[in-house]
């Protein structure tokens, strides 16, 4: 990762704390500490989560590319997670189920616990138990966990596309997703009004 401060610097903890508080504040003000809001994505009555994260993604992507263009950031210095095919698919599915069943993602559960929501505290408890179980039985699935390592692959690279062109298509897709989800949301809320 391109550190704001030297990684060995104790200041990085302070920075992390500040960024964490800011993140939590934004989650809370966007209404993400409500489990209804998050589960709404799956039932089709509220797509704010998708819209917010999509906006965040394209804002960050455009911002980073401009930063690089002006020479303010060295993108090659940024840490990119390794992509493990097997665990990405299974982990994504588990995360999705946890999302719709619990109504939180790890970040929002911490956020909601902070404002005193009991379901979020239970969710966090389950989260900790899950971590302990994962750790205890790690050797059993270590092989699967690490299977299909494709390295720090980027989508546009694997598609063989130009980075900027891919971003343009991605932005267009995000706007399309915005419009489509707004349409679905409208339909669903109309339907639920009828009954």
């Amino acid at each position: 990762m391109g550190p704001l401060f030297n990684a060995s610097d104790e200041w990085s903890f302070v920075i992390a704390l500040v960024i964490g508080i800011a993140f939590g504040y934004i989650l809370e003000s966007a209404g993400f500490s409500s489990s209804r809001k998050l589960a709404g994505v799956f039932y089709g009555y509220d797509f704010v989560v998708l819209q917010v994260f999509f906006t965040a993604a394209i804002t960050a992507a455009i911002g980073l590319l401009f930063f690089e263009y002006f020479g303010w950031i060295d993108l090659s210095a940024i840490w990119i997670n390794r992509f493990y095919t097997g665990s990405a698919i299974l982990g994504g599915a588990i995360m999705g189920f946890g999302f719709v069943i619990g109504g939180f993602c790890p970040g929002t559960s911490a956020c909601a616990s902070a404002i005193g929501k009991i379901d979020a505290m239970l969710f966090l408890g389950g989260f900790v138990i899950g971590v302990v179980i994962f750790d205890a039985f790690y050797p059993l699935y270590e092989k699967f966990y690490k299977s299909g390592n494709q390295g720090p692959v980027k989508i546009y690279e694997s598609l063989g596309m130009n980075r900027e062109v891919f971003l343009l298509i991605f932005v267009a897709f995000a706007i399309f997703a915005f419009a489509a989800t707004a349409y679905i949301q409208q339909k669903v809320s109309q339907k639920s009004k009828k009954y």
């Binding site: 993108l75 971003l167 991605f170």
Partner: protein
Amino acid sequence: MSDTRIIKKRYIFMAVVFIGLALLLVLLPEKHASKELKPEQLLQAINDDTRYVTTDEVAQKMMYGDAYTTLIDVRSADEYNKYHLKGAVNIPLDSILNKDKNGNYVYEDILNQDIATNIFYSNGTVYANQAWVLLRRMNYKNNYVMKGGLNKWIETEIRPKKPLQTASQKEFELYNFRRAASMFFGGGTISSASAENSAPAPIIKKKSGKKEEEGGC
């Protein structure tokens, strides 16, 4: 209802802004500054002497007709025309970073590729080294420097000196190779003529694992 209309307007405005910015990124001219090596990396690369190739190794490559090696003469065109190694390409040091009308480096095709190995030489080592540093900074790979340059080339390949009787078997083998090289490169007739140089018989000092690394064949 006017509320939703305002929100809709905002969405459309944001959508246009995002698309516009993304489009701008596509249209912006490509920048290559970020490819450059960082100062620390460059310093590390300069201190690492794996870039050197001995004159004997160059001679061997030339005699075997190694198609994957390009010799690059970084001296001026005048000097190049007077004498140059067989098959060498002339890219004078002062024009090595020349750009064409479109702002592309003229010699990039030769200097920045991963098929052939480039070996720079000048009269000594200094200018070839400068060329190498300039290009290494731009993160060009596969470039090497002939240590000692043409002076060393003449000394070792064209006019090899016979080792002393007490010299080791290895030195004699090297001498024989050099004599063969000398004949191959047409220096055989003048070999023993001028041996006023009192420098000790050249011994290969650099036996770095270079050969395995670049053996194209």
